[in-house]
């Protein structure tokens, strides 16, 4: 899959615009989860500036929510940093899977694109890459509007905090997982995915059933599932 180097990947304005056109219709999907993160930041005593800054610099919703759950005064800096690390570990194999595009980039194009890898932009980019698209600016075109709109949603949520409250277990908190469920549908290629996906799910469930929290289920599941898939592909 990683044909390199200089695998005729390009980085053009038209690819960037294609990304923007693709992501704009799905931007509203950031809204429920962003509002929840904003409300939670206000609930934990962050100022609107601090909430906005966190979203701009971290830009990873689930980890922001988990870290805010561990918030206190003074802030347990090490604990929330570790929480972000653990929750976001799943992004490492994501950026690795986009390697064929990244191999063709350097400098700000490379590091800027890597900064904007999210569940959304990853799923959409994998699909474009699989269909043979060679314009890596597509990822950044998906990422930058998502980044700005995400921050906007969080700031909005913070501003609404005087009027709305969200209890633990509120259905809106499911928006993040619902987004990932829907994105998974777009990653389905054929029945050949059934075996690796099944193993990934079963392994993830088993690890979780042993009482280990994320990221262990996702890491063990993703590695087990893709190893089985790779073993089958190489025997053919």
């Amino acid at each position: 899959m990683t044909d390199r180097p200089g695998n005729n990947v390009v980085f053009t304005m038209s690819g960037f615009r294609h990304g923007i056109r693709t992501v704009v219709p799905v931007l509203p999907s950031f809204l429920p989860f962003g509002l929840v993160v904003g409300l939670e930041s206000a609930g934990q005593g962050l100022s609107i500036l601090e909430a906005g800054l966190m979203s701009l610099l971290v830009f990873a919703g689930t980890s922001q929510l988990v870290a805010l759950g561990a918030w206190a005064d003074p802030v347990p800096i090490l604990a929330v940093t570790l929480a972000a690390l653990v929750v976001n570990l799943r992004m490492a194999p994501m950026s690795a899977a986009l390697a064929p595009w990244f191999h063709g980039l350097r400098g700000w194009r490379l590091w800027g694109s890597l900064f904007t890898v999210t569940d959304h932009s990853f799923a959409l980019s994998v699909n474009a890459m699989r269909s043979g698209q060679k314009d890596a600016a597509y990822l950044l075109g998906l990422g930058i509007p998502g980044w700005l709109f995400w921050t906007f949603c969080v700031v909005m949520g913070h501003a609404l905090s005087g009027f709305v409250t969200i209890q633990p277990g509120h259905p809106l908190l499911f928006a993040g997982l619902a987004t990932m469920c829907a994105l998974t549908v777009t990653l389905w290629r054929s029945r050949a995915d059934l075996l690796p996906w099944g193993i990934a799910g079963a392994a993830g469930l088993s690890v979780a059933a042993l009482g280990l929290p994320q990221p262990w289920p996702v890491l063990v599941g993703a590695i087990a599932g893709s190893a089985i898939g790779a073993a089958r592909d190489m025997r053919r």
Partner: protein
Amino acid sequence: MTLRWDVLLAILGMALVTFAVRAGGYAVLRAWKPPRFVDAMLNHMPGCIFVAFILPSVALQGAWHIAAAAVAILCMRLTRMLTVSIIASVAALWLLRGTP
């Protein structure tokens, strides 16, 4: 509009490790040419990451959450519209079990 030093440090810590994870997954491959087996694994990674993240998180929350996840998947399959699918899924959960 306050910005406290401990909050700023926590945000910077979170930002630093998150970028390290995002960039690190690829940086390893830039420095080291992986064997064919790892390449073949990366080809399967995308779907496997999502399935292995979602399934435990949803299943451990119980039947209503599983149903809401099924609504998201079904709606996405039928409509291919992300925003609609998320709203349908959250609304299904809301209807099934109400607000706490």
